[in-house]
């Protein structure tokens, strides 16, 4: 099961006064532990959009929980984009990234906000969180440097959403980490406590290793022979992205980044597709926007430690639905 977003929040009445957008949002007592999940429900490609609180069954560490509210498309969204600008990103891919980021900005509603972080080895916020209409033009600079993928994921996930908003992170990278301080397990720990849903868009990776063999020619030069090791999905950045997406309730979309080629009179023409990434970026936003926000009051389970989460739809025919939420969270 793919999984989605949640957080342990100790809510106060004051904090909850703001999100009046949801008529289903109940009043809460001060100091009650409310867990919030993003839950996407689909049947094949159709989004199931008419569910109410009574339709959901939530298990927290195997204990059935009381769902206190369900809303959909009620809260404004903050979108944090984290885009890879390392050396491996060729110029036409970068053009496609800029195009996709602009499409996201255009689709945001007036109450939504947008921010942009780029990363190679350095993490750099280029656009602070602002309503999309106020954000400056997107410019990424020349692709250069190495890749601190682990570190940027942790940094983005450590940024908490405002109480009355939902937070979506869309990360693009074409490769895997080379310069981070943090290990993947460190990042996973941060993800399990984060309230941000992280979606990834990546180039296709196969987990091959390039096996080069250098030999010396008779007159002292180098001769190179190259082979590829068998592919290993666990050696790709995508395997790690899947773990983070599962922990935060996001999705990994893999896009073939090689140029479209056209054979033309025996000549191969490389034709960059500047809108190649528009669709996966937009899908991430739409997928997040149309998901339910399911709140339940934590009961019968100790707050600290790991909480495994299971969500079902009790409605007749609900067993045909695909339900995606995060696989769990770490309580504090």
């Amino acid at each position: 099961m793919m999984l989605r977003f949640c957080a342990v929040i100790t809510l106060t009445a004051a904090a909850l006064a703001a999100p009046a957008a949801s008529q289903q949002m109940p009043q809460f007592r001060t100091g009650v532990d409310i867990v919030q999940l993003n839950v996407a429900v689909t049947e094949k490609t159709r989004v199931i959009s008419d569910l109410v609180a009574a339709d959901f069954e939530v298990l927290d560490n195997g204990v059935r929980q009381e769902v206190v509210s369900v809303s959909r498309e009620a809260l404004p969204i903050d979108v944090m984009m984290a885009l890879d600008t390392s050396e491996s990103v060729v110029q036409w891919v970068q053009n496609a990234i800029v195009s996709a980021a602009n499409r996201i900005r255009e689709r945001l509603k007036p109450a939504d906000r947008f921010s942009l972080v780029t990363f190679n080895q350095r993490i750099h916020e280029r656009i602070a969180l602002l309503p999309a209409s106020q954000a400056s033009a997107i410019s990424l600079g020349r692709p250069t440097g190495q890749t601190s993928l682990n570190d940027v994921i942790a940094t983005v996930l450590a940024a908490r959403p405002a109480v009355d908003r939902r937070q979506l992170a869309i990360v693009f990278s074409d490769g895997f980490d080379t310069t981070s301080l943090l290990e993947e397990d460190d990042v996973l720990e941060v993800a399990r406590r984060s309230q941000t849903a992280m979606f990834f868009v990546s180039g296709q990776q196969y987990g091959h290793r390039v096996l080069r063999s250098w030999s010396t020619t008779p007159n002292g030069g180098l001769a190179l022979s190259t082979t590829l090791s068998p592919g290993d999905p666990n050696r790709t950045g995508i395997a790690f992205m899947n773990r983070i997406a599962a922990a935060t309730g996001g999705v990994v979309q893999v896009t073939q980044l090689t140029n479209m080629t056209i054979r033309y009179g025996g000549t191969t023409i490389m034709r960059p597709q500047n809108n190649l990434l528009d669709a996966p970026f937009i899908k991430a936003l739409d997928d997040f926007r149309t998901s339910y926000v399911v709140n339940y009051q934590l009961a019968g389970v100790p707050r600290p430690g790991w909480h495994e989460v299971t969500v079902r739809v009790k409605r007749q025919g609900g067993n045909r639905y695909t339900i995606r939420t995060r696989n769990g969270y770490t309580g504090g």
Binding site: V117, Q121, R122, I123, H124, E125, A128, Q146, S148, D151, A154, T155, V156, L157, A158, A159, R160, T178, T179, S180, L181, L182, D186, V187, E189, V190, R193, S194, R209, R212, S213, W214, T216, T217, N219, G220, G221, L222, L224, R235, G332
Partner: protein
């Protein structure tokens, strides 16, 4: 650069008169059409700058390379080694670097072979070692500099190819007294760089290559000039091997008084933070990360280390504040952690300067 050009021109007097004559005969010839001896002659006159215009395309470089190997290099191997020829091959590599390593690395290898061959011209080889201390020193410096450049490319197999002759003792520098030196500690360290380089590019090799690297670094830890870096790298490998207690014990051996190099002290403090975090000692880990920030105030990595600890122990507001600090930092100072994977790359400019000084004598 002008000094270098003059120095190289001086060094070339009497060696390349014929070639210079050819250049004079075709004054309109552009560097991008010159082959072997012609380009070398122009290099002797103008210095490395002439090479910047010599290889405008991959094909041109490939043509030059094949021509050089087939028509020039063998002939050079039959005469006494000359610094300027080795420097020419070194500078061709640097000039061709934008063309991709498959091309330019070849000239590093040619230069190394050229220098090694002097040892092979008369047997037994060991008898030759130390007979020309100046050449020994140049040869070692040439190789150290070329390898430090390669280290920046993160191509462990390529680094291995050029480092192996040094590691296996084919190039052993003479002592100042003219007797063979036992070993250059940096070469021992280099063996660790090579093995660790494989692990950095493919962490699944941590057991075999990682242990080989630790073994080499333990040897390097026995030398005063290399012990600081060797100990830091042992700690990193132990940490990557999921042996944080041993990594901490290694870091406890590290004495900051051993080195004046801030990068090494920074790495040691940063890795101490990471090691203590792995041992679930968050307060001590944060203090270690903060001490790394004392070395490089604006470094990104210690902040991220602290952020992850705060997030893990549920201090979300603190983690968020650090996240914001990381994202919005505008200080352009580089984080020394980012060059950890590049072995001796950080010495390239210094060593290159020393190499050119040697070549100019």
């Amino acid at each position: 650069m002008k000094v270098l050009a003059v120095a190289l021109a001086v060094a070339a007097v009497g060696v390349t008169a014929g070639a210079q004559t050819r250049v004079q005969q075709s004054p309109a010839q552009s560097p991008d059409t010159m082959m072997g001896e012609e380009l070398y002659a122009a290099y002797l006159v103008s210095g490395p700058a002439v090479l910047s215009k010599a290889f405008p395309t991959n094909q041109r470089y490939e043509d030059f390379r094949i021509n050089f190997r087939d028509r020039v290099f063998e002939g050079w191997g039959h005469t006494a080694p000359v610094f300027s020829r080795a420097m020419f091959m070194f500078d061709v590599s640097l000039a061709a670097q934008p063309r991709g390593y498959v091309y330019w690395a070849d000239f590093f290898q040619l230069g190394q072979t050229y220098l090694i061959k002097r040892l092979e011209r008369s047997a037994p080889v060991p008898a030759r070692i130390g007979t020309d201390p100046e050449m020994d020193a140049f040869e070692l410096q040439w190789n150290k500099t070329a390898i430090s450049f390669l280290a920046g490319r993160r191509q462990p197999d390529l680094l291995d190819t050029l480092a192996r002759p040094l590691i296996e003792g084919r190039i052993i520098p003479a002592s100042s007294a003219g007797r063979p030196g036992l070993v250059d500690p940096w070469i021992v360290l280099l063996e660790g760089f090579v093995e660790e380089g494989y692990v950095i590019e493919d962490p699944t090799l941590i057991t075999d290559r990682g242990n080989a690297a630790i073994k080499a670094y333990e040897k390097a830890a026995g030398f005063e000039s290399t012990r600081a870096e060797a100990i830091v790298r042992i700690a990193r490998l132990l940490l990557d091997s999921k042996r944080p207690s041993e990594a901490l014990a290694a870091l406890d051996r590290f004495d900051e008084a051993w080195t004046s190099e801030g990068v090494l002290i920074y790495w040691a403090r940063l890795l101490r933070g990471k090691t203590l975090a792995a041992l679930d000692r968050p307060d001590q880990a944060i203090r270690a990360y903060e001490s790394a920030l004392d070395i490089v105030l604006s470094a990104q990595s210690p902040r991220i280390g602290i952020m992850a600890i705060e997030a893990k122990r549920g201090r979300a507001p603190m983690a968020e504040a650090i996240s914001r600090d990381v994202r919005t930092a505008i200080d352009p100072v580089n984080d020394p952690w980012w060059i950890y994977a590049h072995g001796s790359m950080r010495f390239f400019l210094k060593w290159e300067k020393e190499l050119r000084a040697m070549a100019s004598k």
